[in-house]
Amino acid sequence: MSDQKSKTAETEKVFLLGNEALVRGALEAGVNYASAYPGTPSSEIIERLSRVAKERHLHVEWSSNEKVACEGAAAAAVAGLNSLSAMKNAGLAVALDFLTHASLTGLGDQGGSLVVVVCDDPDAHSSGDETDSRWQARFAYAPMLEPTSVNEAREMIRYCFDLSREYGCYVFLRSYTRLSHGSSIVELGPLPEATVGQAHPDCNAAVNPYLGKVHHQLALDRLDKIKEVFEASKFNQHFGPEDAELLVIASGNGLSCGQEALDMLGLQNEVGVLKLATLWPFPVELVRKHAKTAKKILILEEVDPVVEVLVKDALNGTEAAQVQVLGKESGHVPMGGEITPDRALDALCKITGKIYQGPSEAYQAKLKEVTEDILISRGLTWCPGCPHRGSFWALDKAIKAEGGEVFVTGDIGCYTLDVFPEGKCQMNMLHAMGSSIGLSAGLGQMHKFGWDKPVISICGDSTFYHAVLPGLVSAIYNQSNLIHVVLDNDATAMTGFQAHAGVGYNAVGDDAPRIDVVKLCEALGVPVTVADPFDLRGTTKALRELIAQKEGVRILVLRRTCELVRMKAEKTKPHKVVVNQDKCKGEECGTCYSKFRCPALLKDPETGKASIREDACPGCGVCASVCPFKAIEIQEVAK
């Protein structure tokens, strides 16, 4: 794979994923310590680092959550090492409590460095939200840079390590889906010799924020100095005519979109482009300098108008204050979402009056005509063989038995797909990592206010260690009435099967203590029931019994390995599944395909009878216990 090439410096240019380019740059910078909790689109950073951890003498770990990851990495920096932490936008919110303090105190004086990579997900392709992390740099008094291309990502992260070391503070590198999950050709720099980093924390150090006011001022002074560096940074560049009346200021993916749109409109020699890569502290003088001759400025950026607000602020009160700053706030670019070549085109056409000729009207009319009735959507769903399909089937039965009067809170993982139209839509509330138990703990007190229906919260195993544990302790201590279900599938499945505290091995593949969910919960002194989610009746029965107990915290662990993990390890189908066409009642019933909805089930368009799609069926056989007419038959496959 391409990442193998990142180990050697033989080739000067290689084809890399954006996250691999960040890894390469970190290795070139001599990173020693890297820690993270997985989150799309950031997960490949730690994954790729873990593959070279042994040969490069690195410590690489999957931490329980992002705050823990950042604390570990910061400690390594205080000990004089080069460290890295990586997370998605939602993860930054978890880590911020620590990071806001860490930028006040700095990283001590042992010459260490810390780069915090935060990967945003504009358009929320794989996230619950598209929160724009760029605001957080100002909030946390921390410098932030943002690459505009995969190639630049390698060089920029190297620079971030240098900056961190020089100013004794951590540095944010902001990535985004199109960078982290884009691939391109990267020019490699030299790798330092693989040596064991030498930790030397100062045991007389006093790295703490309790001189609050002093530290605040020190952080502001530090940012002032870094601002001067950013004013002259080579990462900010101007292209095109210097004295153009229209200036495009672009950050991140806005640069390539803007340049392409200018090419498409033939405006590349008439419009100036200022690429802004140092986002905070903001290079105010640089912006003022390039704004001097402009009459209009178009800002191309993603999600929120961060640069737009900063540019307006920079020009306010200067001779350039009359320049029209256009972008999201002016309605030229839509608020929220990704920046795309089309959004850039649209904005430029609005401003210049140019017209872009796309596909002909005849083609567009034809397109509308032939796709209108048949272009149906493709909803997200659980994989064939997924244990969650069994868990939610059983939950549905148990809730129906209660007359539907059950409040369910959910959490973040593959089971989140329950809330999509193709799920079972059982979760009433769904928010952040670990929110399932915090929400159910609150609802579990509502009996004091006249409402005492059952409350069920649901989380996965990786999420359990991430943020459920404190909520669970709180719920038990405060005697909430709730059932907490842990869907233990032996994996951080949603982000790509990363290791966690419950799997018995660590990020680099070595054996590690296995922290068992069941034993842990038992130690908290509450009743724990364990069931197999593919024992549909048994799971429903367990849920109903727990509901009947009414009081206190009750825990149900539904344990079955993620089908993708099982298939990868065992490479065999345990059963051959066939539908007995004589017994199948077809549409009259439809339980398996229309209600259970495993994607390996097919419905014959003529007869309405079910069949199994051989190439998709993993042979789990759970559908056999769903069929009311015993028409689905399973045969053991000899091993």
């Binding site: 070549p341 149906i376 997200l380 139209p421």
Partner: protein, 202 residues
């Protein structure tokens, strides 16, 4: 062989888990080795489970383009599922686009649930042909099942792409890449899949 246009915009699409990313990156690596500037845009992660997925490739002799293809600007769509061909055409189609589609359908769960109806083969094929300058249909999954490994459908389709001679990459270059990136034990099967794909177009 040179590119028909510059930049040349290629889409490789399908349903999550069909292996579109594998062939997109393989094509990308070869073109990069051949001196082309290249960018690939993708969205992946489990949020795509069972959903529509696509990789966009921007290929150029002059500079690195951004990863996103402007609307209506695809030159070639290689698709592991025919409904997904149509979905890509609806965003990126134009009078000159060429499409290569697997014939094997994958039912959206909404169809199984009875909420939607999957278009008939005739209608779907007609729509794709109507919106493509040239539309190729390849029974990639049928061939892969014949070879005993439905998972190599993507490689059969890659073979068809080679057979259609639309990209400046050769069979030997593809095999060379496979030798350095695929497990040795799987090479023979993948070579066979590639050849069967080439044969469907030749």
């Amino acid at each position: 062989m040179s590119l028909a246009t510059d930049p040349y915009n290629l889409i490789v699409c399908g349903v999550g888990g069909q292996g579109n990313i594998l062939i997109a990156r393989l094509i990308g690596r070869i073109l990069a080795n051949n001196g082309y500037y290249l960018a690939i845009g993708e969205t992946f992660g489990a949020a795509q489970r069972g959903g529509s997925v696509f990789s966009s490739l921007r290929i150029s002799k002059t500079r690195t383009y951004g990863p996103l293809i402007p609307n209506g600007a695809a030159n070639l769509i290689v698709s592991l599922e025919p409904l997904e061909t149509l979905r890509m055409l609806s965003n990126f189609g134009n009078e000159k686009v060429v499409t290569i589609s697997n014939t094997q359908t994958t039912m959206p769960v909404g169809v199984l649930a009875g909420r939607n109806e999957y278009p008939t083969e005739e209608k779907l094929r007609g729509a794709i042909e109507e919106l493509s300058q040239r539309a190729l249909f390849v029974p990639a999954t049928d061939i892969a099942v014949e070879l005993g490994a439905p998972i190599v459908s993507n490689i059969v389709l890659l073979g068809a792409l080679l057979g259609a001679k639309l990209l400046p990459i050769s069979e030997e270059e593809v095999k060379e890449d496979m030798r350095s990136t695929f497990p040795a034990g799987k090479l023979e099967l993948n070579y066979q899949a590639l050849q069967r794909g080439i044969d469907t177009v030749a």
